[in-house]
């Protein structure tokens, strides 16, 4: 088991409370968190990466309690793809990906040959080795997302956390990013937890889906069991239509305002 959460509770000054009693992710498994804006998906991801500290509960990654780990040790277990990365200096792509090695390089030292090799294999895994020399600030949104994904892979994590990895990406780049995540999960046995907005994408890539609403897990299980017209309509508060059935099922919102 890569990730095991028990009795997790976090609140933002009483206004919002996240409560997750039980959640697990296995090696090579992709768990998709689905739910409307403000349902607590990002908050949950941040708890799993100890970026915020819950009031109670336990989060274990590869059997280790994350809140007793140093940042450096935690970053060797978890790779994180943030939502809304704000670029600052125009680092070259290679230098960006190399930063994934921070947790592995001695604190008063710089990356050596083996770190470069790992960064390059991460770049090859996502297919960006051709623009290693370009400033990443000049890349398109999709390419930039691939750079951040390569950086997370260069951490050599056991678990990947991806916060809305398909946001702002076009049709092709969405498929590209999802395909890479699935490939590294299968081939390297990395567990992945990602938040998505599109139930249909969740049906395509998830091994399991957790449907969230108002800080709680409403349902959790196999995608086709969790994502049904009834559950989606209930959680998102919108009428939906189903097209097709079984594995060929798609869900579309009925257009127009509803409550």
């Amino acid at each position: 088991m890569v990730l095991r959460i028990r009795g997790l509770r976090f609140s933002y000054g009483g206004a919002f409370t996240l409560e997750v009693d039980h959640l697990r992710v296995r090696e090579g498994e992709i768990l998709v968190l689905l739910g409307p804006n403000g349902s607590g998906k990002t908050t949950l991801l941040k708890c799993i990466n100890a970026l915020i500290r819950p009031e109670s509960g336990k989060v274990e990654i590869a059997g280790r309690d994350i809140f007793s780990l140093r940042r450096r040790d935690l970053a060797r277990l978890v790779g994180y793809l943030p939502q809304g990365h704000v670029p600052s200096f125009p680092f070259r792509v290679e230098d960006m990906v190399l930063l994934g090695r921070v947790a592995h390089v001695d604190p008063l030292s710089a990356p050596d040959r083996s770190d470069y090799e790992i960064a390059w294999s991460a770049m090859r895994a996502v297919g960006i080795e051709d623009f290693a020399d370009r400033p990443y600030t000049e890349l398109s949104g999709g390419e930039r997302q691939l750079v951040l994904l390569a950086r997370a892979l260069a951490q050599e994590p056991r678990l990947l956390l991806l916060d809305e990895p398909t946001n702002h990406l076009d049709f092709r780049n969405q498929a590209l990013v999802m395909g890479i995540v699935r490939k590294v999960a299968r081939e390297k046995g990395i567990g992945a937890v990602m938040t998505l907005h599109d139930p249909n994408m969740a049906l395509r890539v998830a091994d399991r889906v957790a449907l969230m609403s108002r800080g709680r897990l409403m349902r959790e299980g196999r995608p086709q069991d969790v994502i049904t017209p009834q559950t989606v309509s209930e959680v998102y508060g919108v009428e939906v239509e189903r097209v097709g059935d079984g594995n060929g099922m798609y869900i579309f919102p009925a257009l127009g305002v509803s409550t």
């Binding site: 940042r71 125009p90 290693a132 951490q155």
Partner: protein, 333 residues
């Protein structure tokens, strides 16, 4: 796929050496370069004793002091820009210069002692930083925005304190304080070099060792944490190292502006990389050369000593404007 060393980097790294030698030749009593090189290499020659004294007693401490100043201001500027994710930040952002100015004014104006001014300026520079840091700290974190705001507030407080001292002491002393504030290497001696060596050396070694990790800091706090950086501690180390360097220099030669801004930016633009593994060491070299040259102008361009702080600002501000407006080159997005 490794870090490539470019010819331009090598040229910039070697730049301080010829500048150092030429600087020893320049002054109201010019000495030929051949003589200076002979003296430096310890080859016996038949120069007048006075030339030896000028080179080793007067000019060399002054030139070394200028080099140390360039290293300290450039490296701390580069580090703070990276840490704050802000291109317009230098070592004065945290209140160091205002604190040091107040300390120097106390020493010159009330105790009438150059030595006291130096010690007080150094201590007040560190105190100003400590106050800024303490004011910015909330719940064990020191967010960048809080640091910048606290720095502005502490700077304002110390500036008001400085004005108070200037207002109450007699006009001659006020003039002395004002001249000090302009910054000059004209009085620098071997004892000043000794005074600066430890803080500047310590700060430089620390920042040099942390140079690659600073890249992670410029990703923002949350990402840096996710990459495995203890953000709070790393930022504290960078701030302390930068403050040590800047306080030592400011306490000795007064306030010299713009070096910490234009040197790191020029290095980033010339080498087209923000990677601190390159920017930190080369900022040290270019900064040292830049202030040595600026000081050459200060003592030799006219018949009398110009405050070097005025020269760096006069040359730095327009150059910075040119850098920012140059098309096709971006060091900042």
């Amino acid at each position: 796929m490794r870090m490539r060393v470019r010819p331009l980097s090598i040229a910039l790294a070697l730049l301080p050496l010829p500048v150092f030698i030429v600087s020893l030749c320049i002054g109201s009593y010019p000495i030929p370069p051949a003589t200076v090189i002979q003296m430096l290499l310890g080859i016996p020659g038949d120069w007048p004793r006075v030339e030896w004294a000028i080179v080793f007693r007067l000019r060399m401490p002054r030139v070394i002091m200028a080099a140390l100043g360039g290293i300290a201001l450039s490296v701390s500027g580069a580090s703070l820009q990276s840490t704050f994710r802000n291109p317009l930040v230098d070592s004065y952002i945290l209140g160091v210069s205002a604190g040091a100015a107040f300390g120097a004014a106390l020493g010159l104006g009330i105790l009438s002692s150059m030595a006291a001014a130096q010690v007080l300026a150094f201590c007040m520079g560190l105190l100003a930083f400590t106050l800024t840091y303490a004011a910015a700290r909330t719940r064990g974190e020191t967010p960048v925005v809080s640091l910048v705001l606290a720095g502005i507030i502490i700077t304002a407080l110390f500036s008001a304190a400085l004005s108070t001292v200037k207002f109450f002491v007699d006009p001659h002393k006020t003039a002395e304080i004002v001249y000090w504030l302009m910054g000059s290497f004209s009085c620098a001696g071997w004892d000043d070099v000794a005074w600066c060596m430890l803080p500047v050396g310590t700060g430089f070694v620390l920042l040099y060792l942390l140079r690659w990790r600073m890249n992670a800091l410029s990703m923002g706090d949350e990402e840096a944490k996710a990459l495995g950086v203890d953000v709070h501690r790393l930022r504290f180390l960078v701030l302390v190292a930068s403050t040590l360097m800047a306080s030592a220099i400011v306490s000795t030669v007064g306030i010299i502006g713009w070096v910490g801004l234009i040197v790191p930016h020029s290095v980033r633009m010339a080498l087209r990389t923000p990677d601190n593994r390159i920017v930190i060491p080369l900022s040290a070299c270019v900064g040292a050369a830049y202030l040595m040259i600026a000081d050459d102008f200060a003592r030799a361009a006219t018949g009398y000593e110009l405050p070097v702080g005025i020269l760096t600002t006069l040359s730095g501000a327009p150059f910075f404007l040119y850098l920012l407006r140059r098309k096709g080159v971006r060091v900042w997005s």
